[in-house]
């Protein structure tokens, strides 16, 4: 399987006059677990047809933020909007436009690839016949059509990730969240997945928020949000963040911003 072609059209193609509405807007969001503050006044936007990298160490608050955006946790303070829909006030409309790939695997290992996709489609109210058509098409595009009836358990880590991304796109969202999707994958599988997601941005105008702690996954043209100990330390186009930090590359910029020690392998 070489570079997988990305997947279906989003619900509606973005229109020029909608560019002012962010795909995702995080506005003054704070969250605490008892006395421990996991997020402190976090604000940033993800634009449609853009790739935004959310860079932070483990424990920075990335997963908490994802839990808030996906309404797994209630919003304690601040506001999260998806294409203008407040996740607290109209979660249905907001979640309809959102696709998510969580960091831990969330597939049913004992069910087949198609069964996993059909279940996800049902959760979005997509009729069985439509779901079957979309599933077959998606499996074809990620090069797993011949495995449609196999159990997910028999797939490799990279194949499972590709399936999860395909699943997240099944209901044709316009915003895609991925929480460290390449963790544990080999170099080839990582490259495939990154290229697949970047194609979604350029060809289909999907807004992507990609949480990572790996510098080499970020490109100069990306938007960057640096999250550290629950706070946003810097945000904006990567080149600007690097320049403003007085650094030559994102690695150095990140270390200057956070005071962190660098780790081998290009990781934060």
């Amino acid at each position: 399987m070489t570079n997988p072609a990305p997947i279906p059209e989003p619900q509606e193609a973005p229109k020029p006059d909608t560019a002012t509405v962010p795909a995702l807007s995080i506005d003054g969001v704070s969250h605490a677990y008892g006395p421990r503050r996991a997020l402190i006044d976090v604000s940033f936007n993800v634009q449609p047809a853009s790739f935004t990298a959310l860079l932070g160490l483990n424990g920075a608050g990335k997963s908490t933020l994802f839990s808030l955006i996906t309404r797994l946790f209630g919003i304690q303070s601040g506001r999260v909007g998806i294409f203008g829909h407040d996740i607290g006030k109209s979660p249905g409309e907001a979640l309809r436009l959102l696709g998510v790939v969580f960091q831990p695997r969330t597939l049913d290992l004992d069910l087949s690839l198609t069964q996993n996709l059909l279940y996800h489609a049902a959760l979005h109210g997509i009729s069985r016949s439509e779901a079957a058509t979309r599933s077959a098409e998606l499996l074809g595009r990620i090069g797993l059509a011949d495995r449609a009836g196999s159990k997910v358990r028999d797939l490799s880590g990279g194949q499972m990730r590709r399936l999860e991304i395909a699943r997240a796109l099944l209901h044709r969202p316009r915003l895609l969240l991925l929480d460290e999707p390449t963790v544990g994958l080999d170099v080839k599988a990582r490259a495939d997945i990154i290229s697949q997601v970047r194609q979604l941005v350029t060809e289909q105008g999907i807004g992507v928020l990609w949480a990572t702690h790996l510098f080499d996954e970020i490109m100069p043209s990306d938007d960057l949000v640096v999250l550290h100990q629950g706070k946003v330390l810097a945000k904006g186009p990567m080149s600007r963040v690097v320049t403003e930090a007085g650094a030559q590359d994102v690695n150095t910029a990140f270390m200057r911003l956070t005071g962190a020690q660098t780790m081998p392998g290009g990781g934060a």
């Binding site: 006059d17 990335k62 996906t70 049913d108 489609a121 049902a122 629950g230």
Partner: protein, 282 residues
């Protein structure tokens, strides 16, 4: 911005979308159940041990007088069969609800909860799916029990179905309410000791309540107030084509109260938010 307002006007969800979601959740639960044969076997072994061993041992000890819905003297095995059917549902309800609460940050609950449909509806579907699985277990038990001379009237197999659906929903939502609300009950052993065993023994599952009343009036009142007693009696009467109206009212009311409470307590902005961050990191 006007075009945005027009385009993004909330369109809500159609009845067909709700039904697609419901059938999808039940279908998946059924598929998973078929893949977990050991779960099926262990769900059956428990009541069968009670039926084959406990009931046989107690047959001579415990005389059962003629009480409704029975019209003749019955063997002890026949008496406890409805209690064991309810026990299957009790274990199934507690087990599946506990996993719904404690696995909420794991795979399948996360997948479920990012569905755009209302969360209350998703949880209801999940409870209904758990009940559907318990029905498969109960009917498998009834099939084996039939060979053990527990032979209710044939229409009883049909008339007991609505009773089982209601009692399954009641026990599932009770399990969800308890696991969401009581932080200390963090594992199944705790639920067994503090919920399942007291509910099961302080009920009419193993002995008729008039016998309990002879021994201890207080225990009798406790048994009468136990919703599980009414689930057992609802099933017992329905299995013989009759309706125990008091039990129906109690089980119906408890189902509504427990389900509303369970859905309320499950809301992460309430009790569960204190449990900590999702996944391994903050």
């Amino acid at each position: 911005m006007s075009s945005i307002t027009t385009r993004d006007t909330p369109r809500g969800f159609s009845f067909a979308e709700y039904m697609t979601c419901l059938t999808g959740i039940v279908w998946r639960e059924g598929l998973r159940f078929l893949h977990q044969r050991e779960r099926f076997v262990s769900a059956l072994v428990r009541p069968l041990v009670w039926l084959f061993i406990f009931a046989a041992g107690f047959r001579q000890v415990l005389g059962i007088s003629i009480i409704p819905p029975y019209e003749t003297y019955i063997l002890y095995e026949v008496y406890i069969a409805p209690g064991l059917m309810a026990m299957i549902q009790l274990f199934n309800g507690m087990q599946s609800s506990l996993s719904m609460v404690y696995d909420r940050e794991m795979g399948n609950m996360r997948t479920l909860l990012v569905s755009p449909l209302p969360r209350g509806f998703l949880l209801f579907c999940k409870l209904l799916a758990g009940t559907a699985v318990s029905l498969l277990q109960v009917y498998a038990f009834l099939l084996i029990a039939w060979f053990w001379d527990i032979t209710p009237p044939s229409q009883g197999y049909l008339t007991v179905l609505p009773a089982l659906i209601l009692s399954g929903l009641m026990l599932g939502s009770l399990g969800m309410l308890i696991s969401s609300g009581i932080k200390q009950l963090e594992n199944f052993a705790g639920v067994m000791n503090f919920v399942i065993f007291p509910m099961f023994f302080a009920s009419s599952a193993l002995y008729p309540l008039w016998r309990v009343q002879e021994g201890s009036p207080y225990l009798y009142y406790l048994c009468e107030a136990n919703p599980f007693t009414h689930a057992v009696e609802l099933i017992r009467f329905a299995l013989y084509g009759q309706i125990n109206w008091i039990s129906l009212a109690v089980v119906g009311a408890c189902t509504i109260v427990f389900m509303i409470g369970a859905i309320w307590a499950y809301d992460p902005s309430r009790g569960l938010a204190r449990r900590g961050p999702a996944g391994g990191e903050g």
